[in-house]
């Protein structure tokens, strides 16, 4: 992991100066601002078991599928296409350092986007709250949900990075990331709704499917339930994706 800090500082600086990041950030805030606005409007119409923050975080999959691929698509695909990745690898910097630096840069930007999102519920609570300020701001659900998004974001960013490593086209990398993230997010829910018990040949999938319940994990975190199994799942998934990404970068010719 030689030169990791140098590369990370460079990646963060590049991300901060990139129009791509600003465009993705704008899209993210527009999406989440819009969703939160409608959640607030909905909360004023009828009593709802969910707070506006919970209802908004429930849509975390939307920026995950639309914004995160925009952040990861150029990381390796663009550099492979232009040849700057090969030039970078002629220095003593290792492929692992390059992959981890890009990964942590993307993840940091992703987390910063979500931290910016917290301004919406905080402002809503301050301006509109009155006696309902705590319910509007719902800090427990907000920070619990953000912890889940940051934790699962490690795996999601790693998936995007891996997708960017296997192609020279940024557009294809974004599409691949979209499909993989959609499968990852929807798989657990789909498995839960399918009548697996009645299909003997699919019975073995019940246990693994139970671990992939992404929305269940979000609810657990938002409720303050800390389960080690999703942490292990996202941690090992992240390491696996990044390991494969390092192999893909080392093997590029």
């Amino acid at each position: 992991m030689r030169h990791f800090r140098t590369l990370l500082a460079h990646e963060l600086r590049s991300a901060a100066l990139s129009w791509n990041t600003w465009a993705a950030g704008g899209l993210f805030l527009a999406l989440m601002g819009g969703i939160h606005f409608f959640a607030l409007v909905d909360a004023t119409r009828a009593p709802n078991a969910r707070t506006p923050v919970e209802a908004t975080l429930w849509f975390f999959w939307l920026p995950l599928l639309c914004v995160l691929p925009l952040l990861t698509m150029r990381t390796f695909a663009e550099e492979r296409r232009s040849g700057t990745l090969a030039a970078l690898l002629t220095t003593p910097a290792s492929a692992a350092a390059v992959v981890w630096a890009k990964f942590l840069s993307v993840w940091t930007v992703w987390v910063v986007f979500w931290l910016l999102f917290t301004a919406f519920p905080v402002l809503a609570a301050q301006r509109l709250g009155g006696p309902d300020a705590t319910r509007l701001g719902d800090p427990a659900a907000l920070w619990g949900g953000l912890c889940f998004i940051a934790g699962s974001g490690l795996l999601h960013a790693a998936v995007g990075i891996l997708c960017s490593c296997v192609t020279r086209s940024a557009a294809l990398a974004a599409l691949l990331a979209f499909i993989c993230l959609l499968a990852l997010t929807a798989a657990g829910g789909a498995m839960e709704t399918l009548p697996i018990e009645s299909w003997e040949w699919l019975g073995w999938m019940r246990e693994p499917a139970a671990h992939l319940r992404t929305f269940g994990h979000l609810q657990d975190f938002a409720d303050g339930i800390l389960d080690s199994r999703p942490i292990v799942l996202y941690g090992t998934g992240t390491l696996l994706c990044l390991g494969l990404a390092v192999l893909a970068v080392e093997g590029q010719e």
Binding site: T6, L7, S82, T84, T90
Partner: protein, 328 residues
């Protein structure tokens, strides 16, 4: 330089390097070496395997078999160690478009293990050496002309004062003034760094390089100093002669000097006829030809021994079958 380790015998060693892509063999059994401080031209027709070889030596591509080492460090077994001694500028010189020249060189210096307190001074020095300070230092790389981009690539290569510099077509796309500048820059590296340089501009290679390695269809066809290759590949002696004498008289006079002499009529201008006289290698007539012609009553306006350039050597080497070349 980046460490005080003793110099190995060869700065670059390629030993039986082979690279195959499925059934296609790009490089086969290629062996050559570059001594420390030596500038070597790496020549071959398009598709001969030059860039593939350079990429294997730089560690950006794995060979199928064979051994490559940089400053005594195996590229395959210790790629990071080999890269510490090496700078490689690929053919198309890929550079990040969105960085300024100085920022880019600062980043590369840190990645190339230049001591943090020396980064600024080192960057300023290579920018001055490559004439980047005045017109390019603050500009985005994406806005630079081809010539300045090449200079940035060369500045990057020299940044960490490596033991070995590999430059793939460093003067491609440059104007004559820029070529002269780069040539002088490369020449100034003689004795300090081992330089392996590929170029299609043979005149430039002849001007700059101590020796040349010529490959064709992935195999070595010749290597050595230009003079040695001239003797090996083009051993015949040739003279250009301008005179008013006709061809039979010229042939008779030349055959008197050496019975194996050949005379070729080249053309006539204002009554002066031009001939090429070819003598066998090591012919004693080399020193007596002019005297023999005068003795035969032939009035000479000009007689000069033709020196075969690298172009003729390259053509002769690439015409012969691959594998006939000398081994190191």
């Amino acid at each position: 330089m980046n460490d005080d380790a003793p110099s190995p015998e060869a700065a670059v060693v390629a030993e039986k390097l082979t690279k195959r892509y499925g059934s296609l063999t790009a490089v086969e059994d290629l062996s050559f070496s570059v001594a420390p401080g030596e500038i070597v031209g790496f020549l071959g027709p398009n598709g001969a395997g030059k860039s593939t070889t350079m990429r294997i030596l730089s560690g950006t591509m794995a060979g199928t078999s064979g051994r490559a080492s940089i400053w005594g460090v195996s590229v395959a077994l210790d790629p990071a160690g080999a890269k510490r001694h090496l700078a490689y500028m690929p053919e198309n010189n890929p550079l990040p478009e969105d960085l300024r020249v100085e920022e880019y060189l600062n980043l590369r210096a840190r990645l190339k293990d230049v001591a943090p307190d020396q980064v600024g001074a080192r960057v300023r020095r290579v920018m001055e050496d490559c004439d980047l300070t005045r017109r390019a230092s603050g500009r985005l790389i994406g806005q630079l002309s081809k010539g300045f981009r090449q200079r940035v690539g060369i500045a990057d290569a020299l940044l960490a004062e490596p033991r070995v510099v590999i430059l793939d077509e460093p003067t491609i796309g440059l104007d004559p003034h820029q070529i002269l500048g780069i040539r002088e820059l490369i020449r100034s590296l003689r004795g300090k760094m081992a330089v392996l340089i590929s170029s299609h501009i043979l005149h430039e290679v002849e001007q700059v390089c101590d020796k040349v390695v010529i490959i064709n269809r992935g195999r070595l066809v010749a290597q050595g100093r230009t003079e040695e290759l001239r003797r090996e590949l083009l051993p015949a002696l040739a003279f250009s002669v301008a005179t008013r004498a006709d061809a039979p008289a010229m042939l008779a006079a030349c055959r008197a000097a050496d019975p194996a002499a050949e005379v070729t009529f080249l053309g006539e201008t204002d009554g002066w006829r031009s001939y090429r006289v070819t003598l066998p290698p090591a012919s004693p007539a080399r020193e007596t030809l002019a005297g023999s012609l005068v003795a035969a009553g032939i009035a000479l306006r000009e007689i000069a021994e033709e020196r075969f350039g690298l172009e003729e050597i390259f053509l002769a080497a690439t015409r012969r079958a691959p594998g006939e070349g000398r081994r190191p």
